[in-house]
């Protein structure tokens, strides 16, 4: 019971390699498991999540937002909203944390092969999309057209800003950035994500849309996707809930019979529609 493989509550000990300040509210943590063998053997799929521990403050769930194709470190982006995230934000390179991962299901990235992919991310909701996007860029030949629409409230609220120029420049993906309100020296789009999406008018033909963001954004994005002709099965999202155990036992993240920590966090809209409306 002394190894994380035997004891599902025992985290891997890990060391923070680097902390990146993404926005005033979001920091990214790049961590490596202390046991080199555990780090080498660590397997996960894009979309899976992990529980980060600060011993003394507690544990919370975050998506692993580095792709499995890049194993130099595991990356988690954390928005400061409460006690644990506040404590995480105070940590620096070299500090010790616990990592329980991987947990939950993954994006259906195999079934998405050969299809055009439309990513629609809002705010911190870009984090889980980043995993899948980088995975697809690292396996570029397996996927069709890749489009990214990423929006935030203001330019300063845009996470991963250091990567955006590369994405904008790539000729094998189409990137559109937007902010809610006009801002100085902002060369990109201005407007709410669902409206910009409708203007972009991506074809639903042989396509899958993957969206994540605040609940209100997801709601109107799904409406927009429907207007554009995307069927429920072609819309994928990933959910958040308050979680504790992360393995379907502790009983708080369920939507009816489905436990978001274990049966999710990734669901198609077709799956969500069959569940009780308790998001």
């Amino acid at each position: 019971m002394n190894s994380p493989q035997d004891n599902l509550y025992l985290p891997y000990m890990a060391t923070i390699q680097e902390v990146v300040t993404e926005t005033p509210a979001i920091k990214t943590f790049r961590v490596r498991l202390n046991d080199p063998a555990a780090m080498d053997n660590f397997q996960f799929e894009p979309g899976q999540v992990g529980q980060l521990s600060v011993f003394g403050a507690g544990e919370s769930t975050f998506v692993i937002n580095s792709p499995p194709t890049r194993k130099e470190y595991l990356q988690f982006s954390v928005m400061k909203v409460g006690e644990l995230t506040g404590k995480l934000h105070s940590l620096r390179a070299g500090d010790q944390i616990g990592v329980r991962a991987p947990l939950g299901n993954a994006f259906p990235y195999r079934q998405m092969q050969g299809k055009d992919i439309v990513f629609i991310g809002g705010g911190i909701g870009m984090a889980p999309l980043r995993t899948l996007l980088l995975y697809m860029l690292d396996n570029r030949g397996d996927y069709g057209k890749i489009t990214l629409l990423y929006g935030a409230r203001s330019p300063a609220d845009m996470a991963f800003s250091y990567e955006l120029p590369q994405w904008l420049e790539r000729d094998d993906m189409h990137t559109v950035l937007t902010v809610d309100n006009p801002a100085d020296e902002w060369p990109h789009r201005v407007g709410l994500i669902p409206n910009i999406l409708k203007e972009m008018n991506p074809s639903p033909q042989n396509a899958v849309a993957v969206t994540c963001g605040p609940p209100i954004m997801i709601k109107f994005t799904i409406q927009a996707l429907h207007e554009l002709g995307f069927a429920d099965e072609q819309i994928i999202t990933t959910l958040e809930k308050r979680m504790k155990c992360g393995v379907g036992i502790c009983g708080r993240c369920n939507i009816g019979t489905e436990y978001v920590c274990q049966d999710g966090p990734v669901f198609s809209y077709a799956q969500l529609k069959k569940l009780p409306n308790e998001l």
Binding site: C245, R252, P276
Partner: protein, 362 residues
């Protein structure tokens, strides 16, 4: 399994006292507040068992034995190193030692099978629970004096049910006819106070039959509840009306032998601390409150809907029809505002039936 045995009523205390030398023994004892499962001290077991009470239902279920109200999962300590860095040591704290739980009614023992499906299944084996479960012998006593609030037979159980038990004690005039159900149960019965009693099996069967007949009639067979309860999900008027008087106190969850939801929190003192698991309560607003301030179950109606949904619909749909309620009735007898889960589930079933008249004729 070994043959049927017999023990005199007056010898139970001696057997428990002897067993307390090798096992942590829990038994229902009378105390100032009623009847509760207490741990017997090896030295004092003989005196403690004077207060043994098997004729009344314990007010609190023995779920503490397998799922402590508060347990340490991990201990951690930070230490300053000479080079100025801080090291961190984290060690799990695993349950130790053999346990005998004597005297739960069969409903309380059956409740452990509700846990087993969740804590000891493919979805994630809980090492703390499974260690306790494997080390615990459950010796149930046939329930011959049901409470007015009992309804075990309406949820698939019975006062002589053996599910979840290792031994079944059937009370008779002069003592107990004892049936070991597992090898672990058989082992704790290897004691000179038990005598061979195969010839009294029929007598035990008669007691069990009488016990089944004595269970109060429930308003419905709740094993048929999963579909109707699910069908009422969006009927907020119903959930609001049945929870109008609920205080959200959570007594029902803490007293429920099948409620197993928990919280995990850290407690630290200087450089040391522990990660704790504690019972949690789905009737609390904080249970599902998210960091953003959003709450998927914002009112007591939403929360009670999940409580009933989980016990009578979601859980049975995941676990082959088994309800997450054993009909012990504690949530009824202890509710400060007299909410009655039997009436509520029955109303839900009736209301769902009225909403779909075409199905009612099938």
């Amino acid at each position: 399994m070994a043959t049927t045995l017999f023990i005199q009523r007056g010898d139970i205390a001696a057997w428990l006292a002897d067993t307390a030398a090798t096992h942590t023994v829990y038994a229902p004892l009378r105390d100032k507040t009623g009847v509760h499962f207490h741990r017997l001290c090896a030295q004092d077991a003989a005196a403690q068992t004077q207060a043994l009470e098997l004729d009344r239902q314990a007010q609190t279920p023995p779920k503490n034995v397998l799922l402590p109200a508060c347990e340490t999962l991990l201990e951690f300590s930070y230490a300053k190193q000479e080079d100025g860095s801080t090291s961190l040591d984290v060690q799990p704290v695993m349950p130790q030692g053999a346990v005998l739980l004597f005297g739960p009614r069969p409903c309380d023992a059956r409740a452990f099978t509700v846990f087993d499906r969740v804590y000891d299944a493919g979805r994630g084996k809980d090492p703390y629970y499974t260690a306790r479960r494997a080390a615990t012998v459950v010796a149930s006593v046939v329930c011959t004096r049901p409470e007015q609030s009992c309804f075990c037979t309406a949820v698939g159980g019975a006062p002589d049910d053996t599910e979840g038990s290792d031994i079944l004690f059937t009370p008779v005039q002069d003592g107990f006819i004892v049936r070991p159900l597992t090898q672990a149960g058989e082992a704790v019965l290897r004691h000179p106070l038990f005598t061979e009693a195969a010839h009294r099996e029929e007598e035990a069967a008669d007691v069990c039959a009488a016990a089944r007949a004595a269970v109060p009639c429930a308003p419905a067979d709740f094993t048929a509840a999963p579909e109707p309860v699910a069908a009422l999900f969006d009927d907020m008027e119903f959930w609001q009306s049945v929870t109008a008087k609920c205080l959200s106190c959570g007594a029902c969850t803490y007293l429920c032998p099948t409620c197993y939801c928990f919280n995990i929190t850290d407690e630290s003192n200087g450089l040391e601390g522990r990660r704790l698991r504690t019972w949690d309560n789905c009737m609390s607003f904080q249970f599902t409150l998210e960091g953003s301030g959003h709450n998927p179950r914002p009112t007591k109606a939403h929360r009670y809907r999940n409580r009933i949904g989980h016990k009578f619909s979601y859980y049975p749909r995941i676990h082959d029809g088994a309800l997450s309620c054993v009909g012990c009735g504690r949530c009824i007898s202890s509710c400060p505002v007299t909410m009655d889960i039997r009436r509520i589930v029955h109303s839900a079933m009736q209301r769902a039936q009225c909403a779909t008249p075409e199905q009612a004729h099938e």
